[in-house]
Symmetry: C2
Subunit: 508 residues, 2 copies
């Protein structure tokens, strides 16, 4: 047996455990009877600890040493070389932060999430503030141990979007604002389109059937996937052979389940189309977080959900093909709504306090205000006690509105209570990337636009599979972008997309 | 920390992994998309191997040594003493069989199951014979390593029904035959009751709702359980807090899902009512098979499924209460069937070649013929090549019929291809025990019969919980029986039950 085989088997075991954790998680969120909660937590903890012990073991160190000797001189782009490099980087990075600090943070997180839950319920920020303060303090320590050159936020970004920095984000955000704020102004001035027909009785069965049909047409393989119901929609995979999505239904608001399903379907298509040769390897495992995932970064993953949900699913061309079919499913509900009216309704631009309910344009403003706050917290330039005020002030500045209360303001997102600081920017990075992939595919495939207008998603799907999906975690997001589009992350294409689409919807 | 806490934590980890394997199994059989099959097998293999390594480790040996010193002198019936004893016995027993033989048998089993599947499909015994021969040869070796005094079958019974022996089984079987064969003769002579109304259109939703309603009344807690659909019905648990059952529906045959659900519900009620203090301990883990289960033996478990399915669910008193409700669910289907006719139809006694479709009475004959064959195979008194002939001859002798082909004969059950030799008797042991529990509860609870006739299952449920369920694997089946009923396994009560019930249905 070669060293590489030993290494690969070792990682495959860890990947198996990560897939198992994902299944325990999926089951808990979609199938488990309520009573199972307590013991399920313990079961997940045991498997996570075993995965952690396996990866942090001396065996990993020995295997890395010997496999590095074995593959020295191989092509630096080969799966083997990349797999070893990823594992080495994750191994070294995970050793920088003291085990004790990680354990303390994990304990704190479970407590903090409960305080956050209660605080949100009772609209009482002070109830959550002490644990949030501790989380931010410990997160600053984590950043310190990981190390950074310019900004503590850079250290945190490593986990979600390697290569991204606070400085680059600031530049990107200021570019985006120049495009987005004028659209928002024009949309506000021109008023809302007709929306009444979205709020009618849409039986769940029809919503589900239509969404799944579209997901299948996009390329989601139901022989290796399924759609369930959950409180918060998500996508999760246990290798490319079993990639599941969930959604939630609102019988009185058609867009929720429909676009939610297409969003998760975009994530799922990515996972399902990683090269089968990478199954169970370091190139389908986030070894730093011990999470089974084929997508290379949070932003890249989000670029696929956004691309299929927004660039395809909210486009006029898509609805030219599908609106007659949607009317066939909901004939009475949509009888008096024209294609044009439907298109305008699902692309309404309207400032609202809640991020997850925001439209395609204002969504990015929700991200910016969070990221600015996170950066200030990491620099110790902002105290937790001042958060509600700062949050409201920034919401007013960006969106022109003030949240009616803290639960629809500073308490709305679970992220901070879960110790996720530095992940918010990846939503906007995903938006930006989605337009880069889309325009590169257009450039490479002259027939793509005509195909899309016929409801034929195969050319776009094939391009994404060949340039993004199949590589799994082989190349970094930045490498993928450069190989496929010729440039690194760049907001130009996304801004051009927004300007064109919303320029037509809200002309000057 | 005491030794006992260390020991308990160690076992709890193993129990967690066993529960996880159960969940992976449940998901594979009820939810998993077909494409997930390949990688799921690997994931289950990894978790099973980790559980195996944990239990077979030197750490287990060290913990056992020190905890045995710590608890020396404690009450021999205490949970602690019993947990340590169970773990020690499983540990020593598992070390008797060479690791290499276990591994070889496991490999063979997965191959053999495929051959069996194909052989059954094509009705070709010879296709399965070579691997079956190997399985029987290796099973004889396993019996040899485990060791036995009188009969190699005794060694195999240890795994399913500790304390049972070939000699005791032979005696029990001959007693049962004396009761069963005359019933069968009379039933054959008197002819079938009306059956036409069972074969009508019974929509699945109504079958499911009615079965679940009854299951809840029996005591199945849906806050810690759920009912799904699967090819073969089963019950499985991930601690007492999450105990799931499955069934299969036949739209043209009402009894299948109904009694199938009540059967699995009986298993589930057992698991759900183990003392919470035993959760995650050696007393809710089959450490020999590394299977998370609260029931103490296969026979004891089966006694509960049989008790709720047959002694309660097929009784006249039960249908006096529930038949009006069933007619309410299926008014047109049952319009022309009286309570008396319905009761006779669901208690039809009729020899058929398939065990799983057999009635309450002839079921035991199916078991006897299998057990006689297994004993002869283990003694090397019967060659695998002669199995089809012997099978058919025994079926004729016991049931008066000859299977139309091997797939409805010697190839009908999965057990042998799965390496399960010695488990069949536990079905009949379960039948026998069910009557022992039932009559002991009647003896202890003068109000029980009247309550049952009102559809009040609380007294019976409470007695079973207090005398059987709560102990988990604390006491052996034999100890439980003696404590609760005053005698060991004894066919008298069961024979009296059969004689009375079927004496009324088929009078002399």
């Amino acid at each position: 047996m070669t060293s590489y085989q030993d290494f690969d088997d070792h990682i495959a075991q860890i990947n198996d455990l990560c897939c198992v954790i994902n299944l325990l998680n999926w089951d808990a969120r979609t199938q488990m009877p309520a009573g199972g909660n307590e013991t399920r937590g313990r079961q997940m903890g045991t498997v996570a600890r075993l995965a952690q012990e396996l990866f942090a073991s001396d065996q990993t160190a020995r295997l890395l040493d010997s496999v590095e000797a074995e593959i020295a001189g191989e092509d630096s782009g080969s799966y083997r070389v990349r797999a070893v490099r990823q594992a080495r980087e994750a191994y070294e990075l995970s050793r920088r932060v003291p085990v004790k600090l990680v354990a303390e943070l994990n304990t704190l997180k479970s407590v903090a999430q409960q305080y956050w839950d209660e605080a949100k319920e009772s609209n009482d920020f002070d109830h959550f503030a002490p644990s949030l303060e501790r989380i931010m303090e410990m997160t600053r320590q984590v950043a310190h141990y990981i190390g950074y050159q310019d900004h503590p936020y850079d250290a945190l970004l490593l986990r979600y979007e390697p290569g991204m920095t606070a400085a680059r984000l600031k530049k990107i955000f200021s570019e985006l604002k120049e495009t987005i704020l004028p659209i928002l102004e024009r949309a506000a001035a021109q008023g809302d389109p007709r929306l009444d027909f979205l709020d009618r009785d849409y039986p769940e069965e029809g919503q589900r059937a239509f969404s799944l049909e579209v997901a299948s047409e996009f390329g989601y393989d139901l022989n290796r996937g399924r759609l369930d119901r959950s409180a918060h929609p998500f996508e999760i995979s246990f290798t490319r052979n079993d990639v599941r999505i969930t959604t939630r239904y609102n019988r009185r608001f058609l867009p929720q389940a429909l676009f939610g399903t297409l969003h998760e379907c975009g994530h799922a298509i990515y996972e399902q189309n990683v090269d089968p040769a990478l199954t169970g390897t370091a190139l389908t495992t986030d070894l730093l977080d011990l999470y089974a995932v084929g997508g290379v970064s949070y932003g890249t993953h989000e670029s696929q959900s956004r691309l299929w949900e927004n660039l395809v699913g909210r486009s006029y061309g898509f609805w030219q093909v599908h609106y007659p079919r949607l009317k066939h499913v909901f004939p009475s509900q949509l009888a008096d709504a024209s294609l044009e009216e439907f298109y305008r309704a699902i692309n309404r631009v309207h400032p609202s306090p809640i991020r997850t309910e925001a439209d395609e344009v204002t969504y990015n403003l929700h991200i910016m205000l969070r990221v600015e706050i996170e950066m200030a917290l990491m620099e110790d330039k902002l105290a937790v006690k001042d958060l509600p005020e700062v949050w409201n002030e920034k919401t007013r500045a960006y969106l022109g509105i003030i949240p009616p209360d803290n639960k629809r303001g500073v308490l709305q997102d679970i992220h901070w209570s879960a110790g996720l600081v530095g992940s918010f920017p990846t939503y906007t990075i995903g938006n930006i990337m989605s337009a880069q992939w889309y325009t590169a595919a257009q450039r490479d495939l002259p027939e793509m636009d005509a195909a899309l207008e016929q409801g034929n998603y195969a050319p776009l799907f094939g391009w994404l599979r060949d340039h993004v999906y199949r590589y799994g975690r082989t190349f970094s997001a930045s490498e993928l972008l450069q190989r496929a589009t010729g440039s690194d992350l760049n907001s130009e294409r996304y801004r051009a997309y927004l300007s064109k689409k919303y320029g037509e919807l809200f002309p000057e």
